[in-house]
């Protein structure tokens, strides 16, 4: 390997495979959410995008907009991290759905721990489907929650991924419950060496 991996040059087969992983992972996450809420949860087909880091904050309302995020590190055969990101209104909707009418103006400590738990369950579902699909052993860490400016939060995966590429693969999922809809984003950020591991485990190789 003489050159670093460039996500921009991923061939279409690899991109399709990554999209499919995103799809299955998000589907499992929606099922987990439905069980937790004991409500019927619909899901739109996830949108998978390859974006410049600089453009990611725009997706969620600009670099200064307040967002909620839960970050996990992944250990095992595949190393990296996974981030679940929500805009602040979606976070409030989720807490309200979970707590059955708990009204909140600000994200208080109670809401934070609820969001942490939601993030945990959704990301767990996401990672376990990834794990069974690839046959790779993966464990996720205890979650860490942050509510702050989108730009500041996204700097974390941006830096981590910045060692590999200037682009990131982002999966946008929309969950619907009645008239409430919650838009969430999963960012999967494998470590440099883990990209090959991931693709090989799926039987695809990124050779041009």
């Amino acid at each position: 390997m003489d050159s670093y991996l460039d996500i921009d040059k991923l061939n279409s087969l690899v991109l399709d495979v990554l999209k499919e992983i995103g799809n299955i992972g998000a589907g499992n996450a929606a099922t987990a959410l439905a069980k937790m809420l004991n409500k019927k949860i619909d899901m739109n087909v996830p949108k998978v995008k390859v974006l410049d880091f600089a453009d990611v904050p725009e997706l969620i309302g600009g670099a200064e907009s307040l967002v909620c995020s839960v970050l996990f590190t992944i250990e095992g055969d595949l190393k990296g991290s996974i981030m679940f990101l929500l805009d602040i209104n979606s976070s409030k909707t989720l807490v309200r759905l979970l707590m059955d009418g708990y009204e909140l103006n600000n994200i208080d400590d109670f809401a934070k721990s609820a969001l942490n738990e939601i993030g945990n369950i959704l990301s767990g579902a996401y990672v376990s489907s990834l794990s069974s699909l690839t046959g790779l052993n993966m464990k996720i860490s205890v979650p860490s929650l942050a509510i702050d400016m989108a730009g500041a939060i996204l700097s974390v995966p941006a830096i981590q991924f910045g060692q590999v590429s200037d682009k990131i693969l982002i999966i946008e999922t929309e969950f619907l419950e009645g008239s409430d809809n919650v838009s969430g984003y999963f960012l999967l950020v494998p470590d440099y060496d883990s990209y090959d591991v991931l693709l090989k485990s799926l039987g695809v190789f990124n050779h041009e």
Binding site: Y4, F53, A54, P57, G62, A63, E64, L66, L71, T73, S141, V142, S144, L145, A146, D148, M149, A150, G151, A152, I153, L154, S155, V156, A158, I159, Q160, G162, Q163, V164, S165, D166, Y192
Partner: protein
């Protein structure tokens, strides 16, 4: 009104007085502001990583403290600033998520700040103010007319340096 120039992630810009430079939502990255009080040229770099030397993907020189600061000084000199007159103000380098693991990448903010300070010292550029560390994001604004740095946060107030 003076024009406001936006500096993105892994980016740098310079302005003449009375221009204003801004970068939105700094997290673990560090914003480096340089100012020459005589020519009133101001520059801002938004770096993501401490060093270009240990990384394979190092084509983007704006991304790293070492190459980014080099380039920023060059650009300012091209616009009429003198290196020996420059002063600096820095902000950012937060740790947005707390983890108990000793994962290096989680402490990247702190490492960025250390690298930036070391490089500025090597260039002999004094650091007049800093607002670094902590666990929150920052939006910064740097005024070329007087070298004033304004740091805005969500829930941690607004500060002037």
């Amino acid at each position: 009104m003076s024009s406001v120039v936006k500096v993105g992630m892994a980016d740098l810009k310079t302005v003449q007085s009375p221009g204003i430079l801004t970068t939105l939502g700094l997290g673990s990255c560090v914003g480096i502001c340089l100012h020459d009080p005589i020519s009133k040229v101001a520059g801002m770099a938004h770096i993501m990583l401490p060093s270009s030397k240990s990384i394979k993907n190092n084509k983007n020189i704006f991304k790293f403290a070492d190459t980014g600061i080099d380039k920023l000084i060059d650009e300012m000199v091209k616009n009429g600033a003198k290196k020996r007159r420059m002063i600096s103000k820095i902000a950012g380098g937060a740790q947005m998520f707390s983890f108990s693991t000793k994962n290096d990448i989680m402490k990247i903010g702190e490492r960025n700040v250390i690298a930036v300070k070391k490089i500025l010292k090597e260039y002999g550029i004094p650091i007049k103010a800093e607002d670094t560390g902590g666990g929150h994001g920052r939006t910064i604004e740097f005024h070329s007319i007087n070298g004033k740095l304004i740091v805005k946060t969500i829930g941690h107030g607004i500060k002037e340096f």
